[in-house]
Structures are given as C-alpha cells and as structure tokens.
Amino acid sequence: MTTEEARLPTRQLIQPDVPTFDRRTLKPEARDAVTGLLLTMADDEFVLGFWDSEWTGIAPLLEEDVAFSSLAQDEIGHARVWYEMIAQLTGDGADRLAFHREPKEFRHARLLDHPRTDWAFSIARRWLYDTADSVRLAALAASSFEPLRQIVGKVVREERYHLMHMDAWMRRLAGHDGEPRQRLEAALAALAPDALSVFTPLPGEERLIDAGLLSAPMAELSDRWRSEVGGLLKELGLPAMPDGRPSADGRDHSNPSDSFRWLWGEFTSVARLEEGVQW
C-alpha cells in the first residue's frame, strides 16, 4: 500500500447506501424537522445496537449468540445510514454524530436507556422497540422525501425478520411457566412506563406532516403501536401496555442516566483516544 492509498478513507470503499441528493429540495424548516426526526431514529438504532451487541459471547445458545449479534450489527448499520443522511442534510459528519457528541446531545428514546439486564429483558425491550420502529417506518413509507422513502423501503425488509425473530422468543419465554415467564413479565413491567418514549412528539412535527414527510403525528402512531403489541400480549396472556400518550421529555437526556453514561463511555472509548486522528 502506498502512503497515498493509506490516506484514503475506508468509508469510500463501502457502497454508499444513501443516494446523493440535493438538500435544497427541502425548505430549510422542513430540513430541520427531518434532521430532528432522523436523529431520533439514528440514535435509537445506534444505542440499541450497542446494548444488544453486549450479548456477543454470552447469549443462552451459541446459534442465538451469532444471530443476536448479527441483529445488533444490523441496527448499527441502520444508524450509519441515518447518520449519513443527516450528514448530507446538514454538512455534518456521520462519524462525528456517532462518536463525538456528548451524552446529553443524544436523542434516543428512554426505553433504550436501560442496561442490557437479563435475556428476557433484552428480548422484551427489543420486541417493544422493533414493533414501534415498524410502526414508525410504515408512517415514512410514502414520505414525500425520495431518499428517505428509498432507505425506508430497504430497512423495512430487514426489520421484518428482526420482528419475526423477537416474536418467536416472546412466545418461547411466555410459553414456559416458571422462571422464563416470570422474568419476561418482570421485564415488561419494568419497561412499560418507558415504552411510549419511542413516540415522543418531535419538534416541528406539524411541518413534517404538512409537507407529506411523515403520515401521522407521533401520538397517533403510539396508538397504532399499542394495538400492534396488544395482539401478541393478549394471545400470550400478558398485560397490555398502559394507556396514555407519550410525554414530551421521552428523549431528553439533559441529565443522562448512569447506564447511558457508561455505554457512551464504552462506544466512544476508541474514538476518543486521540481527537482528530485519521483511522
């Protein structure tokens, strides 16, 4: 390898998933609103991907270990796509967004603030989140912003399998009386108060809807989600998710939780070794 080659960023070797687009096709206010929406989606996927990657090497079955790690990688891959789209919209950098923000600048839902905990907890959290994500993606499937619509079409196809995989585990844990079911019930009870946080109302939400970028307000999506999860919960004899609407502070990390501070310390540990270095 020549010195010249060594300087080339590795990223250029990867086929870009985000098509090059002209950001001026969006009015500045709509652009800000889309950026805000994308940041919530990117941070959700990124943070969940890191929590779930912690199961690598310690999952309950070898095959599940590989599969669950692969799902976690998929989420980080989705985050990469959303960060890159934000980067094109704002002139920011995907790596900076992922690894060089302070904990308080993250916008992931509070549901994803909990640590990995036990297997039932990770499965329950992932199932609640994947279902919410599928409702959110469906509301973007006909977005007026072409590059967003394109990526959503691809992401949905992967998320479908994630959800099937999680459904299988929900049935498995709920179907075995004793410890598996008890742990699942405890996990769902612990997560329920934060489950709606995925649908925290967004700044500029009306603009997104007026411009045809998003099909319905977050509060309405939260109702759809409740009925989606309600189906399997009822079938398995598990309590329904609580009524109510998402509160405004579900993505506020002005006072980051200890668990997220710890995770942030982990996932930025290499990037922070030397500021500004070229890998």
Binding site: A59, P60, L61, L62, E63, E64, V66, A67, S70, D118, W119, A120, Y161, M164, H165, A168, W169, R172, L173, H176, D177, G178, E179, P180, R183
Partner: protein, 129 residues
C-alpha cells in the same frame, strides 16, 4: 433429548451442544430441547441446492432464523432448506450401495468399444468404395 439422540441417523457426531450455557442461563425452562437442523442453500437461481452445514436450535422457527444468519447474512444465498436431521433417511449400507460383485457392465466404461469401432470403420470405408 440426549447427546446420542441428537446425533440422528446419519451417524455423524452432533455439533457440540453448549450445555454449560443452557444450564448457566437456565432460560429455556424445563425440558428444553436442542435439535440439529441440516441446512441446504442455493447460491443463485437455477443452481442446485447444496449442503451448507447445520444449526442447533430448539425449534424449526428459531432454526430458520439461525440458518438465515449463518448461511445468508452476507447475501450469499437466494434460497435455504432447513431440515430436522431426524427427518433425513440415511442409507449407507455397503451391501446396497457398494455390492461386492463386479458391476463393470453397468458402467459405459465396462464395454470395450475400440476393436468393434475399428471393424465398423473399415467396413464403412469398404462400402464407400
């Protein structure tokens, strides 16, 4: 299910079941079973299905998910077949597959054509004249 049973009729040693993990995690509940599923994959449309390997899973649903992650997560397959190993009929009896008597006459190579071909060529040449 015991280790012997998971070996199945193929007389192949089953891949090691991570018993330590099962016990330690203890999350599959009483009577947890780990079965072996053989996986076949098609690389592209029109190709034959080829044996890819196997996965150990508690049921066919998870086996399908694991097969997908193991044999197509890099988009290397267009189709997978996932088969419980216990459903495979094994035929490896040498009396049936490798009979002791000479079977040369069942192979095209069992016939010596060279001399016959020479005679036929000569006859054909003579008839032309």
């Amino acid at each position: 299910m015991s280790r012997e049973e998971t070996t199945g009729p193929l007389n192949q040693p089953a891949p090691p079941v991570a018993e330590g993990r099962l016990d330690e995690a203890g999350r599959l509940g009483e009577g947890a079973r780990s079965d072996v599923f053989e996986v076949f994959r098609q690389e592209k449309d029109g190709d034959p299905m080829r044996h890819a390997g196997n996965v150990t899973a508690p049921d066919i649903e998870l086996a399908t998910h694991y097969a997908r992650e193991f044999y197509s997560r890099r988009q290397e397959s267009v189709r997978l077949w996932v088969v419980p190993r216990t459903e495979i009929t094994d035929l490896s009896d040498p009396d049936l597959l490798q009979p002791p008597l000479d079977r040369m006459f069942k192979k095209p190579g069992g016939y010596v054509m060279r001399d016959k071909l020479d005679v036929a060529k000569k006859r054909a040449a003579a008839e032309k004249k």
